[in-house]
């Protein structure tokens, strides 16, 4: 049976459409992992790293921790392996290693 006009919700009663819930500050977005983009994995040599944080600042995928003590650890569920961090590192501390060389 078709509804009468009065039975439809008014604009104030309509639920808001197309709303996406925000991820937490500092992330990550739990619903969209991007680690499968990666063929090369960034690995930091602690002996060469001066902990300046440039790799963290320049990562286009915001997937490095801001903690210098972890050498700005990479979240491998999200790192796309672009190599920007290795390229901007002033001490050449980051090597991009073929994923096939890792067991896990």
């Amino acid at each position: 049976m078709t509804k009468k006009f009065e039975e439809f919700p008014t604009w104030k009663e309509m639920p808001v459409g197309l709303v996406v819930f925000a991820p937490p500050v500092n992330g990550p977005n739990p619903h969209y992992k991007t680690g499968t983009f990666r063929t090369l994995r960034p690995v930091t040599d602690p002996a060469k790293c001066n902990k300046d944080g440039l790799c963290w600042l320049y990562c286009p995928d915001s997937c490095r921790s801001s903690d210098a003590e972890t050498l700005f650890a990479v979240n491998l569920d999200y790192c796309k392996g672009c190599g920007v961090c290795a390229e901007v590192c002033p001490t050449k501390a980051i090597s991009m290693i073929n994923e096939l060389e890792f067991k896990e």
Partner: protein
């Protein structure tokens, strides 16, 4: 002002928190994604971002998920001007009526070169005259990247795009000269107190300019040069190097126009030849020595006019 200080000059000044977080579908090494991250970092938690259609909408907010940890909204490709004006006016009205707590909200509009310099230009012009408080940022990846790299009015001379393929009849690719959008905004809207250019390869300068644009009363405009590995045909690790070379060769310039006063933000100590920038990118692979010379002449003249040389 909602930040401790306006200027971000070193890594120590750079806020630790990320508001544009991991988990988006942009290409490896995407310059515009780096721009979003740095813009959000500088603007902080009391910012609201509206993005026009383009890669930074489509590739970010995929499958009902989002990397924006601050309030974000999509606007039509040509709609960024009206969307930011409406949002800024709405916040003001809600605060006046007591429906929202009175505080400083930073309304940021993001649009690509296609969305800003072509399709949304009239709306941006309207927004610049509006007197509402907002900052419109163009992330300039020099093509309609999201739909497959078509030429826009910000595509540089000589570049390959899918609309300007170099071939036997037309050897050069794009033969239109890149539109000077920031100068156009500044010249055409004398009321606008802050117009600037930036680059993702100069992150401190970029973050400071975001804050300056937001701090100034009324509308402000910022254009950010953002290398795009897919559209410019280069290997993704080179994003930052290519952006830096653009500035070091003079193919992109960093400046501010504050209350009508033009000021260079960075002067390369010794400009590099443009070929160093062009040769790293597949979109310029068809160019030959005379073309490099032609581009060099154009860039030399522009740099002289801007006071870089």
């Amino acid at each position: 002002m909602s930040w401790e200080k306006l200027e971000i000059r070193t890594l120590k000044d750079a806020p630790k928190d990320e508001y544009f977080v991991a988990g988006h579908r942009t290409c490896q090494g995407c310059g515009p994604a780096l721009a979003c991250k740095l813009i959000a970092k500088a603007a902080g938690p009391r910012a609201v971002v509206i993005t026009a259609t383009g890669c930074m909408y489509v590739a970010n907010c995929s499958y009902n998920t989002t990397p924006w940890a601050i309030p974000w909204m999509h606007a039509q490709l040509g709609g960024i001007g009206s969307a930011v004006c409406g949002a800024a006016a709405a916040y003001k009205a809600m605060m006046r009526k007591g429906k929202l707590k009175k505080e400083e909200i930073h309304v940021i509009g993001l649009a690509g070169d296609g969305g800003a310099a072509d399709i949304g230009l009239s709306g941006i012009s309207g927004a610049m005259l509006s007197g509402e408080d907002h900052l419109i940022i163009t992330y300039d990846n020099e093509s309609y990247a999201n739909t497959g790299v078509q030429a826009s009015s910000l595509t540089p001379w000589g570049a390959w795009t899918t609309f300007t393929p170099p071939g036997k009849m037309l050897r050069l690719g794009n033969v239109r000269v890149k539109k000077d959008l920031p100068k156009m905004i500044a010249a055409g809207h004398p009321n606008v107190r802050y117009v600037a250019t930036a680059s993702t390869s100069f992150p401190f300068d970029l973050m400071t300019k975001v804050r300056k644009g937001l701090a100034v009363k009324g509308p402000a405009f910022l254009q950010v040069h953002t290398p795009c590995p897919k559209g410019w045909k280069f290997s993704p690790e080179l994003t930052v190097r290519i952006g830096r070379l653009a500035v070091e060769t003079g193919m992109w310039t960093l400046y501010e126009i504050e209350d009508g006063q033009f000021k260079l933000s960075y002067k390369p100590p010794k400009r590099k030849p443009v070929s160093e920038y062009l040769k790293l990118q597949g979109r310029f692979a068809h160019l030959r020595e005379p073309d490099y010379r032609y581009i060099q002449e154009q860039v030399d003249a522009a740099c002289k006019q801007l006071g870089i040389d």
